[in-house]
Each structure stands twice: as C-alpha cells, then as structure tokens.
Amino acid sequence: MRVLTFARQFGEVVLAIAIAPLFAGWIAQCRAWLQNRSAPPLTQTYRMLRKLFHKDAALAVDASPLFRTAPYVLFGTMVLAAAIIPSLATDLPFARAADAIALIGLFATARVFMSLAAMDIGTSFGTLGARREMMIGFLAEPALLMVLFNAFLLYGSTALPSLVDGYASHPSVIDPSVIFAAVAFVMVLLAENARVPIDNPATHLELTMIHEAMLLEYSARHLALIEWASSLKLFNYACIGFALFLPWGIAIHGADGASALLIAVTALIVKLALAGAALALIESVSAKLRIFRAPEFLAMAFLLAVLGLLVHLLLGVSTHA
C-alpha cells in the first residue's frame, strides 16, 4: 500500500513536469486563434526547450554562483510545489509535509532567488525587472492568502488535500464566498504568472518587461530550466485553483483504484483545456495595465477575497445550519 502511494506521488510529479509545457503551449495556441493568427503547434514549447538544452550556455563575466544555481533552485521549488498540490489524488505523502501557507512560502523562495539572480549581473534591466517583480509579488501574496483563508473557513484546514476531501464530502454546499474568492484567485494567477494585463509574456520591449527582464542574461540550459519552471508555476497555480474551486474528479482518500486515477487524469486534462482557453480569452480581450495600476488590480483581488470572508462570516452560518 505504502509503495503504491509513493508510486502515485511519483507519477503525479512526472505528469506535472511533462504536461506543464503543453499547458503553456495550449494557451499560446488559443491566443493565436483568438487573434486570427495561425497558431504554433502544441509541441512548440517542447521544441523550444529541446533547442535550449542543446545550446552552449553563455555566462556574464561577473556572474556569481548564485546566478548559475538560481535556475536549478527555481525548477526544484516548482517541482516540490507540484508534489504538494493534489492535482490527481489527495492521498499523497508529500502533501502532508506542507500546507497551503508553506506553499506560498515556496513560491516566495523561488521569487527571491530569481530576483537576486537578476540583480547579480548588475545590468539595469535585471534590476528593473527584479524591482517590479518584488512589487507585484508583495501585493499578490496577501491576496492569495486571503483566498486560501476563504477555503480554510469553509473546511477548517490549511492543507489542500483536506480541503479537497472536505469539498467532496459536502458536494451540495456552494457558498457565495467561493465565487468572490475564485475571481480574486484568477486575478492573482494572472499577476503571479506574468500574464496580460500585468505583464506581457510575448513582448520584445525591454522597458516594459517584468518577468522577462530578469531572464535577459540567461541562455541555453539555464533559460530552458527557467522557462520550464515558469510553465510549471502556471500549471501549479491552475491546479491550486482546481483544488480550491473545481475539485471534481480528483481521487480522494479511499478511492485508490485504477479507474479513479483514470477519471482524475481525464478530469485534469479537461479542466486544463478549459482553463487555458479561458485564460487566453482574458488575455486577448485586455490591454496591459499601466504599471502603477497593478497595485489597484491586486488591491481589488485582495478586497474581493476579504469580501468573500465577510460573506462567509455573515451568511455562512445560516448555510451550514
């Protein structure tokens, strides 16, 4: 039994690493279609990674070991996060090791390393990007915490697997606070993953970049790892969203059969496809915000999450009664 659990954990992580670039490629494809362009194939992100892994890395003369290790730290933290998030099943050995608050800490660690590495070379763009990234980050984190507190209030736990189990055991309860939290979560997801309207992953204009400005000095395998970690981060955020708001299909405690896992994989792929299309739609119909509107955007996310909490406290009692 124990061996099976670990096999499931391992399988989940491998699946996450394997399909994260696919998710990013799917969003790019949907974006292209929505703009009436012919789309790159779904395998484009994999081809890009392959190309980068086959190149020789160029390092700046002033690069310290921090600069070289940061991509590995980044990739490592995102893989660890993928192990904690119950994307397929809730009975995971790693999931017990950390709750959702620790998860936010894990993302913060990755951010700190990325920003330090960006400043390490001493170019003005790296520092510019790091500064903006920290600004977005410190505004997004409280909003994300508030979103999680919503779920905690509902199910009384800060561990994502317990949340999913709790949700699955009371499927009839649809709390209005969840809707506020879900909207806030999508806003945080956009900001944290360098998507329009906060950042533009497709831009070539150095002065407008946030996330990309930090990567300008990276090449080859380092860049590949960072790109892969970025797509994993987006995948992880999507899976947190599914665990919090759309947990249907995830194999919960006790449902250990192969059929439950098959259902979980199918459900995940369907949910990713729909979420990717929805993200692409949001990105295509919005313009990028002026950078000093980003705090307003994230303050709005925070406010919505707090509203969710208030709604729960005011109405939640009667729903549960």
Binding site: R31, Q35, L128, T208, A287, R290
Partner: protein, 517 residues
C-alpha cells in the same frame, strides 16, 4: 507677407521648386536678423545645412530653410573666412537647429558659438580634424576606429539612476541610444544619441549623375521612399523646367497616399501591441499587408523604391487597377472603421493612450514640431493644405487636427488621415486622365538650385539639389522631419513612466536612417 529681408540687397530671388520658395542672400550681419524676423513671423524652422564652395568662389556656405504659411524661405550665408568658418547659432531662436549645427560641424567643420558642440554624426569613424563633406575628402579613405567618451547630461539627486537602452535593442529595430535618468519608474530626463546609421549620403550624391539621384533618394528612409524620391524629382524637374504628364503626377500622388496609409496602418497595429493589445497588431498588420500586396501587383513593388523617376513614373497602372483598387478601398474603409471603434471603446487601450506622452501646443510650437506630431498637438501644418502642389491643388485635402497632444491624439490623427487618404485615392482614380506617364528630362544648368518639398506620412520631406557641370550633382541636401521631432520625444516623456516609453516612442515613430543621412 512683407518681411525684413524683402529690402535686402540683392533682393530675394525665386527659388525653383514644387512649392513657392524664395532665396535670400544674407551676409554674416543679416543672417541672424533674417532668422529673427522669421522667428517673429512664427515661421516653422525646416532645415539647416552647409556646403563647401571654396573651389568655386572661395567660401563656405550655410543655408537655413523656413516654412511660412504661403512660401518657403531659404537664407544663404556665405562665410568668407575659409580658415575658420563661423556663423551665428540659430539655436537660441530655433532649438531644433542645435543638432543640425552639430552635424554641420562634424561634416564640414563650420563652427558656431553653440555651447553644446558634442559630436553628433561622428561616431569614432573618422578623426576630429577630418571633415568628410569637404570637397578634398576622399570617400574611400579608411580611418582606424578610436573610441572616445561621449558625456551625457547627468541628473543628480536622491535615488536618481540611469537606464541606458540601445543602440542594440531586443527587437528588430534601427539603432539609437536612449539614456534615461529615472527615480523609481518616473522619467526625469531622456537624452537621445543618434547618428549610428550615418551612411554619408551627402558625399555619395556628389559622385552620382543627376539621372540616378532619385535612386539613392528613394533609399534614404525605407518607409518614406515615395516622399523622398518625389522630392528629389521635384527639385530636379523644377530646375530643368520639366513638365510631368498629368497622369504621372496623379500616379505619384496615388503612390504617396498608399505609402501614408500603409505606414499609418502599421503604426496603429504596433500602438495596440505596445499597449499589450496584440489583437490590434494582427488585424492592422493584415490590412497593411493586403495594401502592400496590391501595391506589388499594381505598382510593381511592395515598397515603391523604383516607381518615381525624374519626368514621371516608371510604369503605368494595369487596365484592371481601378476596379481592383475601388474594391480594396471599400474593404479597407470598413475594416478600419470597425477597428477604430474597438480601439475607441476599449477601456484598457484608452487608459494607456490618453494623457500618455503629452506634448502641448505651446512647447510643440516653441520646439518646432512638424508633420503628424505637430497636427496631434493642434498645429495646423500640412503642405497638402497650406501650399498644395499638383495634383493636391485640385483635391481640397481635409487637414487632420487634434489638440490633446497625447498618444491617443497621435493615434486619432492616423485614423483620420487613413480615411482622408482613401478619399484622395478615390478622387485621383476617378479623375485619372489618359496619356503618357513619363517625359524626357534635360540636363540641369551647372550651379542651378532647386527645392523639392513633399508632405510624407511623417511630415515634410525636403531635398535641395544643386546641379554640377555635365549632368552631375554638386550638392544634395536631404532632410527628414525626424530631425525636428526627435527632441520633442525627449520632452514628451518627462514625468511619464519608464514602461510607457515604448508606447510614446511608437506614437511618434521617427526615423533613424532618414535623419542620420
């Protein structure tokens, strides 16, 4: 309008050109007084250039050109002290003259008392004591590259730091260096350094026969090929008294309006993209591409670098052109109107466009804005309206005018001009007379000077041509309105946010190659 220089001796002479122009021979004493009179009359400063005439009458010459509402004035200043040629700086009256004076020094060694005489075009390619536009200079001479520091103006204060950008950029664009002094995300000062694409076209023109000059003129600035080649041909035709057939003139205007529309469509798409609205880029790029392909099918090339020749145009339109163009104009008008309402009603796009990169009327006037940028700041200046040359004299061009001077205004001027150009193209097609499209051009008399001034999509494009013996070119000065408008960009960015710079820059969309020469 009676001006002070109308009383000069010798009196102003007519300057041959496609627009009404006069040439005033001022000596060193009258040079600055004439400029002051023009400044008092609110003339638009157009260009400043020099010539080495020591082989002919032992002097250097400096020329200034201005735009009055009804005519162009060229002031000429012969500098007799050939050992140390010097003239009074125009920068106190016309700030736009400053960089042109620096360029004149780099090329000819004619100095002025301007405090900022850092080199402008000389990018370590030749030593300070060498002046490439002097007649004795051999264009094939190679010099070792010596790197000298170029001091930028420093801004001091708590938390002020610099962001150097370029000359090599992340996108495929031309080279230019931008030095931002910023506090946080706010820009305190921007200083440009251009001249990286200086190719020495002034010198190259002097080695070309008159019959080939249009070829180089069309290649000065790729997006203004029609405007520059028409200006060149207009200058040559006016000194040789060539009359172009009416059909050729109409076809030139059709080509110029196509060039204007193609550039405006491209810019409108890029403006959307720089605001993070990629949908706009794909839609406008498609419209621009359709227009270019129609151009390739009808005029023979996508960018019309070989279309306009002295005496007319290179080829006539095919028989089916009129029907094909009418159908395309209809589709284009419909699409642009639809996209305009999307831009106008998109809150995110409008939030980025409005109040961004604001250039008010007063500073635009004071700093000498020209062309599209000036029209977005409420300055009524369009040569097609003010001094229409054929065929615009029969077309009643409606000027596009906005007053807010921000990115939104520059986008609106582009939209308005696309619709105005569509109207002009339809009128030109409807009245297209039959007949030849080319006339023979005789050789110009040595020493004769002519001016060609064409309202390109960016603004007035100037060519001043001086003929040499036996069909050669003695001097040719080409001027792009970017000279005037680049310093305005430095002004418009002040107080804006660093990430808004690409958007503001795109709304100006100035030329590097056309200005570096």
């Amino acid at each position: 309008m009676m001006m002070e220089f109308d009383r000069f001796d010798p009196p102003p002479a007519k300057f041959p050109g496609n627009v009404p122009a006069i040439r005033v021979q001022a000596n060193a004493d009258h040079w600055f007084a004439a400029a002051e009179a023009l400044h008092a009359a609110h003339a638009h400063f157009l260009s400043l250039w020099g010539a080495d005439d020591r082989d002919r009458d032992n002097c250097f010459r400096i020329y200034g050109a201005w735009l009055l509402p009804d005519r162009v004035v060229v002031i000429e200043n012969a500098l007799r002290d050939v050992a140390n040629p010097h003239y009074a700086s125009l920068a106190p009256l016309f700030p736009a003259a400053s960089r042109m004076q620096r360029a004149v020094y780099d090329l000819l060694g004619i100095s002025t008392e301007e405090p900022d005489m850092r080199r402008w075009l000389r990018h370590d390619g030749w030593p300070e004591s060498v002046f490439p536009l002097r007649r004795a200079f051999d264009g094939n001479q190679q010099y070792p590259v010596t790197s000298e520091p170029y001091p930028f103006v420093q801004v001091e204060g708590d938390g002020v730091h610099e962001i150097p950008v370029g000359p090599v950029h992340a996108g495929t664009i031309e080279p230019g260096h931008f030095r931002f002094s910023v506090v946080g995300e706010k820009v305190l000062r921007l200083e440009e350094r251009l001249g990286y694409t200086h190719k020495g076209v002034g010198k190259r023109f002097q080695a070309m026969p008159q019959a080939e000059g249009h070829w180089l003129a069309a290649r000065l600035c790729g997006d203004s090929a029609v405007a520059f080649s028409w200006a060149w041909c207009a200058a040559l035709e006016s000194i040789t008294d060539t009359l172009c057939p009416p059909r050729a003139i109409a076809l030139r205007a059709l080509a110029l309006e196509h060039e204007r529309m193609a550039n405006h469509l491209g810019d409108l798409g890029a403006l959307g993209n720089d605001a993070g609205f990629a949908f706009g880029l794909t839609q406008f790029s498609r419209l621009k591409e359709d227009l270019l392909r129609t151009g390739a099918a009808l005029f023979g090339e996508r960018y019309l670098m070989n279309f306009i020749l002295p005496g007319g145009v290179a080829r006539d339109l095919p028989a089916h052109a009129s029907a094909l163009l009418s159908a395309q104009y209809l589709k284009l008008e419909e699409s642009v109107a639809g996209l305009r309402s999307i831009y106008d009603e998109h809150a995110g796009v409008q939030d980025r466009f409005r109040e961004t990169g604001r250039l008010d009327h007063a500073p635009a006037e004071q700093l000498g804005a020209l062309g599209l940028v000036a029209r977005a700041s409420g300055i009524q200046c369009d040569l097609r309206v003010n001094m229409p040359w054929p065929p615009y004299d029969g077309l009643q061009v409606q000027p596009a005018l906005q007053t807010s001077g921000d990115v939104a205004a520059r986008a609106q001027v582009r939209f308005d001009e696309v619709f105005a150009s569509l109207r002009l193209c339809r009128a030109l097609l409807a009245d297209l007379s039959a007949g030849p499209v080319h006339a023979a051009v005789p050789i110009a008399e040595p020493g004769s000077m002519g001016i060609g001034l064409i309202e390109g999509w960016r603004g007035p494009v100037l060519i001043v041509l001086e003929a040499g013996p036996e069909g050669s070119i003695r001097n040719c000065h080409a001027h792009d309105p970017s000279w005037q408008n680049w310093p305005l960009l430095e002004y418009a960015i002040i107080g804006n946010l660093v990430p808004d710079f690409p958007l503001i820059n795109k709304s100006f969309n100035l030329s590097y190659s056309g200005q570096d020469g």
